[in-house]
């Protein structure tokens, strides 16, 4: 729904540029035709953009989602988080294994902030690339830090008297996802709250 936010912001632009609600806009597609020699006979496509109608549809969806969030009737949430270069699709109670060096210690409670996607059975928020900061809270606990099983790195070249053997273990961190929850209202970020009435000079 960061998507919606952007959309919302872009509305302001439209309002500044056009006095009327209904405006004609050339679709970008036609200007991208590379060849000048091949003239097209098809008429230039125009679309009638009714911003009010769009806003109505958008707000309807947002209100529905916000009411679900407010009543906490959305059920179990899932999220896609980005941790140490990997993406995990997680839900409450999951355990994820993070491989490689990672500083958090056993018992640490952390929040995973890079939420690329969050949703429930009825709606999904898609981040570009992450959803609004502070909107979705993914809380996790480090439950175990250990090493993987011993992996054998064995190289051999036939008829060349070349043979090397090494052993290594990868550090692993087990992370329990305690809770995924909404902290705030959707499409109403704290940073811009109350700015509707503010006067900028």
């Amino acid at each position: 729904m960061a998507l919606f936010l952007k959309r919302f912001c872009s509305q302001f632009k439209n309002l500044q540029l056009n006095t009327s609600n209904t405006l004609l806009r050339n679709i970008q597609a036609i200007s991208l035709i590379p060849s000048i020699q091949n003239y097209s006979n098809t008429p230039t496509p125009f679309e009638v953009v009714d911003t009010e109608e769009d806003n109505k549809a958008k707000n309807q969806i947002l209100n529905k989602v916000n009411s679900l969030v407010a009543d906490k009737t959305h059920g179990r949430l899932f999220a896609v988080v980005h941790v140490t270069g990997k993406q995990f699709k997680i839900t409450d109670g999951d355990v994820i294994v993070i491989e490689g060096y990672w500083p958090p210690d056993v018992g640490d409670k952390i929040t995973l902030d890079k939420v690329l996607m969050a949703g429930s059975a009825d709606f999904t928020l898609i981040g570009r690339p992450i959803v609004e900061k502070g909107l979705v809270r993914v809380q996790a606990t480090v439950i175990e830090k250990t090493l993987s099983h011993t992996k054998t790195h064995f190289r051999k070249k036939r008829r060349k008297q070349y043979m090397r053997i090494n052993f290594y273990r990868v550090p692993q961190t087990y992370l329990r996802i305690n809770e995924i929850s909404f902290q705030d209202e959707i499409n109403n970020p704290k940073e811009v709250r109350g700015l509707e009435t503010a006067i900028f000079s």
Binding site: L3, K6, R7, C9, S10, Q11, N14, I27, Q28, A29, I30, S31, L32, I33, V49, T51, D54, A57, K58, F78, V80, K86, Q87, K89, L116, M117, G119, T124, I126, G127, R128, P129, K151, T152, H153, F154, R155, K156, M163, I165
Partner: protein
Amino acid sequence: MVFTTVINFVRARGPDEIWRKRRIFKLAAHFIGRRRNCYSIAVRNVHRALVYATKGRKLKREDMANLWETRVRAGCEQHNISYESFREGLARCNILLNRRTLADLACWEPYSFKSLTDIAKRRTLDDGLAGINADKYLDRIITRGSLNTEK
């Protein structure tokens, strides 16, 4: 008996033969036939197996990436969009989900995946990329240029 030359010690290199061989036999325990019982055959096969195990770790990663791509391709086909336009559309919208996540979503979150394909379709259409036909269904998706990131 007194040995006056060192020649007899030359053969006694490394750990005792039994222990040296036992190490190999332990790794060959699950092999079948002479490959587990005859040392000279066992050692060849154990070496080969270890090389495979080493190379296999890298291959596994590649195979998984291929599998995810196949799954995402199948998901895209279901929604009439090619994999290439799908990924391009998402990348242009700054939606940076990887193959693994997309495959997971295609399997377990079909509605979310469908909306991702819708977004990608709309974006590819707005940008005039090849491979997507204007569909009346796509008019339902309101973007009004909001998919374009301003920088």
